[in-house]
Structures are given as structure tokens and as C-alpha cells.
Subunit: 260 residues, 2 copies
């Protein structure tokens, strides 16, 4: 996948409680190409070994993480910050889906702005005063029957959307597959198959043969076989037909009182 | 957000290692309105208390989770299963983004199909033979520089996309007509075909047999055969490999000195 064309958003965690979650956030940031992590008053202080232990090797966001005493300081240099929260606010701020937020963050970054995403702590979430420092609220479309979303999962969904929107195209296929076989090659396979089926007495009653052939061709045609696959399938038909020959010989030998 | 309009996909975890991850998967399934969790050979057995401990109250997917001895058994009743994997495959299967996959899963469910998402274990991931049982590969647009994505994060991104796409309601893109056969019916056809090919000496050299079988399954699987088509194709295999008796009788009569 091509590298991000605009700077990635900063991730700000306000009062995170568990070092394991901070490490999991670093890991998923690395998964999607983000590196700038900022911590506001981590409950158990900083650094904490358990964060590195749970980052599975994504050490660089942790090594470079900066600690701040308030959200205001942590976002001071940013020009656009969106607050991720599920709780309704009385604030007059636009409420965006992660996908909409990703689009706006990318547009901002492309316009030369430093952008960020603010997340609250595991229990307390964000104060309205902290949300009020942001330009928009991002709300993940969660099932109202079970709102307890893990902090690292909330970060994951937002940074995934950032990268997916950044790419705005499917990831390149592992390898571009060969094109489908020509109609001629397909027809050759169909006719080969149908000849063998005719020999085997598959088509009966005779008046149904055209329909049976059409349905068989339509079903197989949906696979859009490549030339190589058509060759393989013709080998399959040949092998099965010859196999029949072997069976016949054996039966014939048996009829002759030959060895079973 | 409105309740999901079509049944949610089944989540299948193949050989999950850590109970904490199984619990985290259940939690994020609950976050996005999914409930049907299936476990194939969980490394440490099942049930495991640590799974419930890490689900933060999302107990119902764990309480209802079913354990299977193989992927084929776990997906037997499903009509569309997509494999989530980042590893390149030689298989000719469509490669979808989580968003594209969500659209197809929803369209399939709206067409009455039972659909599922298959995830590999933390370390091993999925075997190619297991991916070959699926109709498509889902690849998360991850940064190639750090591919180690946590299992629960991979599930989170896919089930988030499922729920987010539910809201968008794309037009069904599955074809009209009868639904695809179940994985069980398909596997029965594959094994029938492979038995006959084995008998016919098609698989050689022997060391290439697994690859030949995987490629054959992936190619045929792309057609998404219906139950009727699977029955017809088994008839095709039987006819090619045995004939319908007619040929046998004729030859037998010939051997007995009867009329040619």
C-alpha cells in the first residue's frame, strides 16, 4: 500500500489508566502508520514497562510519547482536534462518524494543518470542558445496548478509517490474477466436458439435453476461469473419463472370469 | 443507531491462543451488535475464565460460543465465508477491503444467506487450505512496516465496518435466484471429485496434491454453486468416472459375445 500522502494525526490520550491499553494503542498506531502519541496525566505515571510489553514491538510511538499536564498543553500546537466520545454533549459542535472525521483530518493535513484525535480515559472519558477545546466530536456507531468500547479499539477504528480514507482505494491485490480465459477456450472446455458426458449417458431424457447443457455452462461460467484453470479442468475431465476406462476394463476382466 | 436490518455475520476464530483475546473479541462483537461466536480448537481449551474476565460484561457471545474440531465443521452451515488474512496467497480469490466485505456480507444476509468471517490464530493465522474453503479474502489496509495486528483489533475493524455499512444500506450485489450451497455441501462435492481424481491417477507428483486440490477448490468455489448445481456436478463426476451403467452393460455384453 502506498505511503500516507499527508501527515498522520496526533493521538492524544487523556488520563489513560492501564499501561496495557497505552501499549495496545501504540501497536495499532503502528499498524496504520501513525507515530505521534501524547499522554495527559497517565494514572500510573510514565514510562511503564507494561506498555512496552503489550505493544508487541511497536516501541517507537512509546519511546517518542510525550507527557502533558493538561489537554490544553497537549493540543497547543494543533490546528484541528476532534474529540472521540459516545456521550451526548450540550455543545454546539459537529458530530462526525469516524469516516467523516478521517476525511476532514486528511483535508486539514493536506491544507498544512497539524491535526489530532483526542480520547478520554477508560472510565471517565472526556470532560465537556475538554471536548469544548475541539472542533468536532467523533462518535463511533456503537450498539446502544453495549457501549463499553475498549480504549485501544476506539483508537483502532479511527486510525483504520484515517488510513483507509487516505488510500481511498482497495489495497492492491496480493498479485494481479491472470485474466479470465477467452470464450473460445471456455467453449472448448464445455464441449470437451459435454462430449464425455454424452458418452457416459449423462444427458437423459434426450429432450432435456439442451437445458442441462445451458445450466451447466452458466454455473461453471460464473467462476470466470483463467486459461490455466481451463487447462486444469480439461485435465480433470480427461482423467475422470480415463478413470472410467480403467473401471470398465476391470469390470470386463471380471466378466471374463479374470482376476477381480 | 437503528438496529441491524439483516442478520449479523458469524465470527469464527481458528485456533485462538489467548483467552483474553477471545474475551476482547466477544466485547467488540457486543459493541457492534454481533453475538454468534465459534471457536475452532482454542489452544487452552474451553471455557476459560479469563475470557469472561476480559469481556467487560459482554458475556452472551461467550456463553453461547460453540467449539468445533475443524474449520470445515465450524462453517458447515454458512453460505458465504470470508477469510481475514494479510498474508499473500496463491489462491485466485477476490481480495476485499473490510468495507467491501461488509457490503457483500450485508447483501448476502439480505438475500437470506448465513454469512461469516473467519480469523486465524494469533501466531499461525490461517492455512491456505482453510482460506480455500472461503469465497473471498478480506485484507485490512495495514502499514507494511508493522503488520502485527491484534486479533481482537482485526475483528473490531471488520465488525465496525459491518455496522457502519448497515447504516449505508448498499443495494444487494448478490445475484438473484437460489442461494449458494452450504460449505458442507461444497466440501462434499470437492471430496467426491478429489476421490475420483485420486482413483484416476490425476494427482501427480504426490507432493503437489495439496496445492492442486487447493487451486481446484478455489477456482470452483468462485462460482458460488447452488445446492442444485452441486448435485448436478456430483452427477457429472459420477457419470464421468463411472458412466451411467449403460456403457458398462454395452461393454459387458460385448465381452459376452452379445451384439456390439
Amino acid at each position: 500500500m502506498a505511503e500516507a500522502s499527508s501527515p498522520a494525526p496526533v493521538i492524544i490520550l487523556n488520563a489513560p489508566q492501564l499501561a496495557e491499553n497505552i501499549g495496545a494503542v501504540a501497536r495499532v498506531m503502528a499498524n496504520f502508520g501513525l507515530a505521534d502519541l501524547r499522554l495527559v496525566n497517565p494514572r500510573d505515571g510514565w514510562p511503564q514497562e507494561r506498555a512496552w510489553a503489550s505493544a508487541s514491538g511497536a516501541d517507537w510511538p512509546l519511546n517518542a510519547a510525550r507527557v502533558f499536564g493538561s489537554v490544553t498543553e497537549a493540543i497547543a500546537d494543533l490546528q484541528a482536534v476532534f474529540a472521540t466520545t459516545a456521550r451526548p454533549r450540550e455543545l454546539q459542535l459537529p458530530v462526525l462518524t469516524p469516516r467523516q472525521a478521517a476525511g476532514e483530518l486528511i483535508a486539514g493535513a493536506e491544507a498544512g494543518q497539524k491535526v489530532g484525535l483526542l480520547f478520554g480515559g477508560e472510565r471517565a472519558g472526556l470532560e465537556t470542558a475538554e471536548v469544548a477545546l475541539c472542533q468536532a466530536v467523533v462518535t463511533i456507531p456503537i450498539d446502544p445496548r453495549f457501549r463499553s468500547l475498549n480504549l485501544a479499539q476506539a483508537v483502532a477504528i479511527n486510525v483504520y478509517e484515517w488510513r483507509a480514507t487516505q488510500a481511498d482505494r482497495p489495497p492492491p491485490n496480493f498479485r494481479e490474477g491472470p485474466p479470465p480465459a477467452t470464450a473460445e477456450a471456455l467453449l472448448g472446455f464445455y464441449e470437451h466436458l459435454e462430449r464425455e458426458l454424452e458418452t457416459a449417458g449423462f444427458f437423459h431424457p434426450p429432450e432435456k439435453t439442451p437445458n442441462m447443457i445451458q445450466n451447466l455452462r452458466a454455473a461453471l461460467g460464473r467462476a470466470r476461469f483463467t486459461d490455466q484453470e481451463v487447462r486444469t479442468l480439461r485435465g480433470v475431465v480427461t482423467a475422470l473419463s480415463r478413470g472410467r476406462g480403467k473401471v470398465l476394463e476391470k469390470i470386463a476382466r471380471r466378466k471374463d472370469g479374470g482376476e477381480a
